[in-house]
Amino acid sequence: MTSTTLDVTLCLLLVSAAAFTVVTAEQPPSVPAQSRADATANVLATSTASVNYTLAPGAGRGDDSSVRFGRTRGPAFRRTARGTLAGLLADVTVGSAEIDGVPLSRMHEDFRRGVTRAVVDALADPARTQVVAVWRPYPSSSLAARTVVGAPPPPDARVRAATVDVPSGLPATRDEAVVASDAAGDHSRTRHADEFDAVADVVATNAVTGLFPERSARINIDGGGPSPALARTRYRRTAAFLGVTLDDGRDDELDAAEVGAANDRLAAALSDRTARELRAEFETPADAARAVRLGRVRVIVRRW
């Protein structure tokens, strides 16, 4: 009897030891920086945040005195935006589009601060992460936007990157541009002598439609609160950068009814500029058309 007891006890002891050995066996080396970048990108794409901000920077401080604001700060300017971090980054980026490095509107300044803070809060290791959101309708476009959260990596660091593409809110234009680059050549009746012009027209029209949606602009101009003044300011600044006037020289405020005409003028001016840039950058209009990326903002996560 004694030997049986000893036998069983010894067996149990050995089984326990075996289990312990398996469980405590050393795991393979930890997840590399690459998957951390991907994980961060996933976080940006899926987690949501609320951002409270003010539109006040868009008012008053502007260099355009032709639009009058009743007041330039205060509760009337406070807003709340909510969305995924990537979506918010896209909003900031497209909203603060610049022409030759000058922003079309200052309305986004506080919003950008809020979104930046929200993104930093969501990062696991902000000191070793940089998030860059880029919107560029085509390579070398002077109308572009970029939002950077975090410092750039040190030169000697081994950097891993992951990207997320987020809809910019502008129409996806590439297909249309490709069609335009073909069609312009086939039909001499179109008023575009040059296929580059055709592509540029599509890009400019869609960009203006996306940045200055007509019904929304009309409603804002007819609306209450600071909306009309903010919308007018944005129009004026853009027009000034593109070198066009919106009102036939009349010193008159932009009316809701004039929005369509104003958009046409902006699109025409932008189209000229775009055609110039496309010609300089691309060899063929087809190349140019394929490079058009109006509809998306690319969010790049760098991790080191």
């Binding site: 089984v15 899926t46 992951a162 809809p167 129409p171 019904r215």
Partner: protein
């Protein structure tokens, strides 16, 4: 057994353990020495990231779709193939689902993920036709959470596909669920609720109709009371008040629905309040068409303090009580009591003298009590012997009466008084002599029987008045004394005695009494003293004055709605107070004392009977009023009452933020109406958002005044047609008009007015002459004056007033009566006692009233023309005086203008004195209130109504706007580049109304609009809200969503 000794082929457990240990150690060593795993996870990563990216894409797509749906909400699906995809009951939600689907599809295309040659993307099928669109709609489910301030979206069957070199390497279907913080469902639902409440009538529950009542009641009651009180209020309820009240009510409804009000609307309302306040203080200025506050008009903003809301505070209210007294009915009943005549029921038709006479009625009676003390037996007819035959029986009876000391007391009855008693003993002896015959033989037997009685005789007097008075003992009764030391019924004992002697004295009566029933009685009418009449008269005249002042309180609103019956209440009141008013003493002080009380009781009964007949007529009149109102579209009086009672059931909402649960940030829904303030005037399209061209009437109103001058004048309105044209108006009306015209003429000699006035004066004079004739005739039956003298008396009385108008007024308000009496008394040979004067005056007052009502009508046309002419002149006059003041607005100016008006004073006579309203007079002469009624209908439409919330990124202006401006909603659903019509959004419009009744005391000018406009309609009323802009708006149907859904 020991292990070593065991021969069986056994493996020890420990050995198994050793094997396990060795195996696991080897495995662990392998694990830890191997390098990191290198496997191709790019497909999984791509799938993961594509799914995550789709999440962001769906979120922003939902946000965009929600914004788009709010900017172009579909409230009416189009009757097109694509439009029919939207359910009729939930077009907005369905359009949102379609938009979410399309937006998500578009966004998924830009949210693909590239990773080491693997491209992963989420996708949804395209919707080239109606059936695929319907299926697409069904894939998307939405639900409002947190009171609709956030949206829970579920998209089913999203396929996520990974491709490598165009080859599908992975595919999965998922259902995506998101919660997106966009408040469009709440905005839509609240706007719908706002719209529903705007369209509610006062009887449909809380909403605009009720608020409108709440605001219009004080206006009508305050201005009505002011008008009645003599202030120059020409148009009690003008459309400017309707406009102002509607806008105030709409603002309250905005706050109710959204928590906030439109800032432009508040400013506009404030300006309008000042403007209307100015107009109202400047009173009757014909400024109804004056320029209105333009919603976006430049300049002209008042910064002064806002005057108190019209009618706030101490203004009269329908809940206040109106005192209705017995008043003239006391006189009428009094005259009827004196003269008899028709009136009370036959049983009560006692005149004053009747009552007195019948009060002095007594009865003299002789009552007896008989007791038989001995009753003899009739002797048998015993034959003297055998064979005797009775031939004859001769009976004699002898009665002897002698006094006795004992006799039964006759029963007198409770109310009788015994004057004298007699006791007699009566013996009756019956003797019989019989004659018998036997053969030829005759013989006679005699026999006798004696009856004895004791008889008591009493002479009794009884008081038998034939008029009722409270049961009280009367003393003294059959002797002089008591009140006035009067004779009472002292004739009764004498009458009883003479009755007794007529009946043969006590012996004779006793004789008769024993032989059978005896009853002797005689009615006695007592002789009344001379002072009795005047004493009772003075007493009942004092009662008359007391009764005249008896009053009941009825709610003014009940009267106004035609649901009060003051005469019935007065009758009930008198009945309840009958004992107090009749005031019987504990014991009547003689017959005179009882007669006095009987007269009081008879008088009260007459008053009550008259009031009850009036009550019956009032019921019929109320019924008539209700029937006529219903016929004219005002609704029944029950409805009117209900409107009145429920008008306060609309609590004033408080400013509040949106309760959006966890969705973050304090937010508010702010309405943006265009125009913020809805004016009744037309507005140029370029001042309005949402209208392209032309002119637009955002608000139209109609207010119908049920009784305007002079069509509804007088009691005829009850018995005659409500809105019919009367041939004559009452003398009172004509007289007031004449007085007003005279006043105006004195200030401003206008030839037209003078001509009209002269005509009216002639008509009034004719009418007045008729009244004078009848008055003189009434005088004739009372005073010993010749016809010529009577005529002169009346003329002299009339001449006490200056001018035909005032004379006629004196005739109509009864003050002429005392003048006539005074003139009569002043004549020689007509020294009248006080009682006679009182009597005469009451009679003449009544006769005057009858004369005025009977045949003193004045042609309506003549009166009407004078009214119009007077008003024209008065308005001109006032404009001259105040035209400039009207321009300057400010409290100081108001006050100065008001004071000026009061000082000048002529206005109250010219305008306030023109009678309007419907006197509530069930029978002519019983005028206890003047009622009037306004039926108000408003129709409004916002060319553009938006609600904003501070949500979203700056790119969209940081604002979500829900816009209702009547545009067409089109969306490119099939991807062919052309938008398909899905429906349209309907403008926020409303139709509602209310009824406002008012009642003022009788007399004066009544209450009502005196500008002669019964149907006051704002410009554009007939075009039912939509002016010429409709066409232009339809042409320019907004297809702003041509670039769906990323277009905006």
């Amino acid at each position: 057994m020991r292990l070593a000794e065991d021969r069986r082929a056994r493996v020890p457990f420990a050995l198994v353990g050793v094997l396990l240990l060795v195996g696991s150690t080897t495995f662990a060593a392998t694990l830890s020495t191997r390098g990191p795993l290198r496997e191709d996870r790019s497909v999984e990563t791509a799938m993961d990231r594509a799914t995550a990216g789709a999440n962001t894409a769906l979120r922003s797509a939902t946000d965009d779709a929600a914004r788009g749906a709010a900017r172009n909400p579909v409230t009416a699906p189009a009757n097109t193939p694509f439009g029919r995809v939207l359910n009729d009951s939930t077009p907005f939600r369905d359009s949102l689902r379609v938009r979410i689907y399309l937006a998500a599809r578009e966004r998924f295309r830009t949210a693909d993920y590239h990773h080491r040659g693997v491209v992963a993307a989420a996708s949804l099928p395209s919707t080239p036709n109606v059936s695929t669109l319907r299926a697409a709609k069904r894939r998307v489910r939405i639900r409002g959470v947190d009171n609709g301030t956030a949206l829970r979206v579920t998209v089913r069957n999203v396929s996520v596909t990974a491709r490598r070199d165009g080859r599908v390497v992975a595919r999965e279907r998922t259902t995506m669920r998101l919660r997106v913080a966009t408040p469009v469902l709440a905005m839509h639902d609240r706007t719908r609720r706002f719209e529903r409440r705007l369209n509610r009538g006062p009887l449909d529950g809380p909403g605009l109709g009720r608020r409108l009542s709440f605001r219009l009641y004080p206006v009508v009651w305050a201005r009505g009371a002011a008008q009645y009180g003599g202030l120059p209020v020409e148009n009690v309820l003008a459309n400017r008040h309707v406009e102002l009240s509607t806008n105030g009510a709409v603002l309250a409804e905005q706050r109710e629905a959204f928590g906030r009000t439109d800032a432009e609307g508040r400013r506009g309302f404030r300006r309008a309040l000042l403007r209307v306040g100015a107009q109202d203080l400047l009173a009757a200025a014909p400024g109804d068409q004056s320029p209105l506050v333009r919603p976006k008009g430049p300049g002209g903003e008042f910064d002064g303090p806002i005057p108190r809301r019209i009618g706030a505070g101490d203004a009269p209210e329908p809940e206040r009580n109106v005192t209705v007294g017995v008043n003239g009915t006391a006189d009428r009943a009094f005259v009827a009591l004196l003269d008899g005549g028709p009136g009370a029921d036959a049983a009560d038709a006692r005149t004053f003298d009747d009552v007195l006479r019948r009060s002095y009625r007594g009865e003299a009676r002789i009552v007896t009590g008989v007791e038989q003390v001995e009753s003899g037996t009739n002797p048998d007819a015993d034959a003297p012997g055998r064979n005797w035959t009775l031939v004859d029986a001769d009976t004699t009876r002898r009665t002897t009466v002698e006094p006795t000391a004992r006799a039964p007391e006759p029963s007198v009855g409770g109310d009788g008084r015994v004057f004298e008693r007699y006791r007699r003993h009566v013996t009756i002896r019956h003797a019989v002599e019989r004659t018998w015959r036997r053969g030829r033989r005759e013989t006679t037997t005699s026999d006798a029987r004696v009856d004895r009685y004791r008889v008591g005789v009493a002479l009794v007097g009884t008081f038998r008045p034939e008029v009722s008075a409270p049961e009280r003992p009367v003393s003294p009764l059959f002797e002089r004394g008591g009140a006035l030391d009067g004779p009472n019924l002292r004739e009764v004992p004498g009458a009883a005695r003479s009755l007794l002697s007529a009946e043969g004295g006590p012996d004779g009566v006793a004789r008769k009494a024993v032989s059978g029933h005896f009853d002797a009685r005689r009615e006695v009418d007592g002789v009344r003293s001379d002072e009795l009449r005047s004493w009772a008269y003075a007493d009942v005249a004092a009662l008359r004055e007391r009764v005249r002042n008896v009053s009941v309180r009825v709610e003014a609103g009940t009267v106004a709605a035609g649901r009060a019956n003051p005469p019935a209440e007065l009758a009930a009141e008198l009945r309840a107070r009958r004992t107090e008013l009749v005031d019987p003493p504990e014991r009547y002080d003689g017959v005179a004392g009882r007669a006095r009380v009987a007269v009081r009781a008879a008088y009260l009964d007459r008053v009550i009977a008259k009031l009850e007949r009036r009550a019956g007529r009032t019921r019929r009149a109320n019924g008539n009023l209700t029937r006529r109102l219903r016929k004219a579209g005002f609704g029944s009086s029950r409805d009117v009452m209900e409107v009145m009672q429920t008008r306060r059931d609309v609590p004033t909402p408080r400013r509040r933020a949106v309760d959006d649960g966890t969705a973050g940030g304090r937010d508010a829904f702010v309405p943006e109406a265009s125009p913020g303030y809805l004016p009744l005037s037309s507005v140029d399209a370029d001042r309005l958002a949402g209208v392209r061209s032309g002119r637009y009437h955002p608000l139209v109103a109609e207010n119908v005044n049920a009784f305007t001058f002079p069509s509804g004048d007088a009691a005829n309105a009850v018995t005659g047609q409500l809105f019919g044209d009367l041939e004559t108006v009452r003398l009172r009306t004509a007289a007031r008009t004449l007085v007003a015209a005279n006043r105006t003429l004195a200030a401003n000699p206008d030839p037209d007015l003078r001509r009209d006035r002269n005509e009216l004066r002639a008509a009034v004079a004719t009418s007045l002459r008729g009244v004078s004739d009848r008055t003189a005739a009434a005088l004739g039956t009372r005073v010993a004056l010749s016809r010529e003298q009577r005529r002169r008396v009346v003329d002299a009385a009339v001449a006490r007033w200056n001018g035909t108008g005032r004379q006629a007024l004196a005739a109509t308000n009864g003050s002429l009566a005392s003048a006539v009496v005074a003139e009569t008394a002043a004549r020689p040979r007509t020294d009248l006692s006080r009682q006679q004067r009182d009597r005469l005056e009451v009679r003449i007052r009544v006769a005057l009233g009858e004369a005025v009502r009977a045949d003193a009508g004045v042609p309506t046309s003549t009166t009407n023309e004078t009214v119009v002419a007077t008003r024209t002149v008065a308005e001109r006059e006032m404009n001259d005086a105040l035209g400039t003041a009207f321009e300057r607005a400010g409290n100081e100016t108001f006050r100065a203008a008001q004071e000026e008006l009061v000082e000048r004073g002529y206005l109250d006579e010219t305008i306030a004195a023109l009678p309007t309203g419907m006197p509530v007079a069930p029978v002519p002469g019983y005028w206890y209130a003047t009622v009037n009624l306004w039926d108000v209908t408003v129709r409004g439409e916002y060319p553009r109504f938006a609600v904003r919330a501070r949500r979203g990124a700056p790119g969209s202006g940081g604002t979500v706007r829900y816009v209702r401006d009547g545009t067409t909603v089109a969306l490119d659903v099939d991807g062919d580049g052309d938008p398909e019509r899905l429906g349209r959004n309907e403008r926020v419009s409303f139709t509602t109304g209310t009824v406002v009744p008012i009642a003022v005391p009788p007399g004066k000018g009544g209450v009502g609009d005196k500008d002669g406009v019964m149907f006051e309609r704002s410009p554009g009323w007939s075009s039912t809200g939509c002016a010429d802009w409709c066409l232009s708006a339809a042409n320019g149907s907004a297809s702003a969503d041509a670039k769906p859904p990323l277009g905006e």
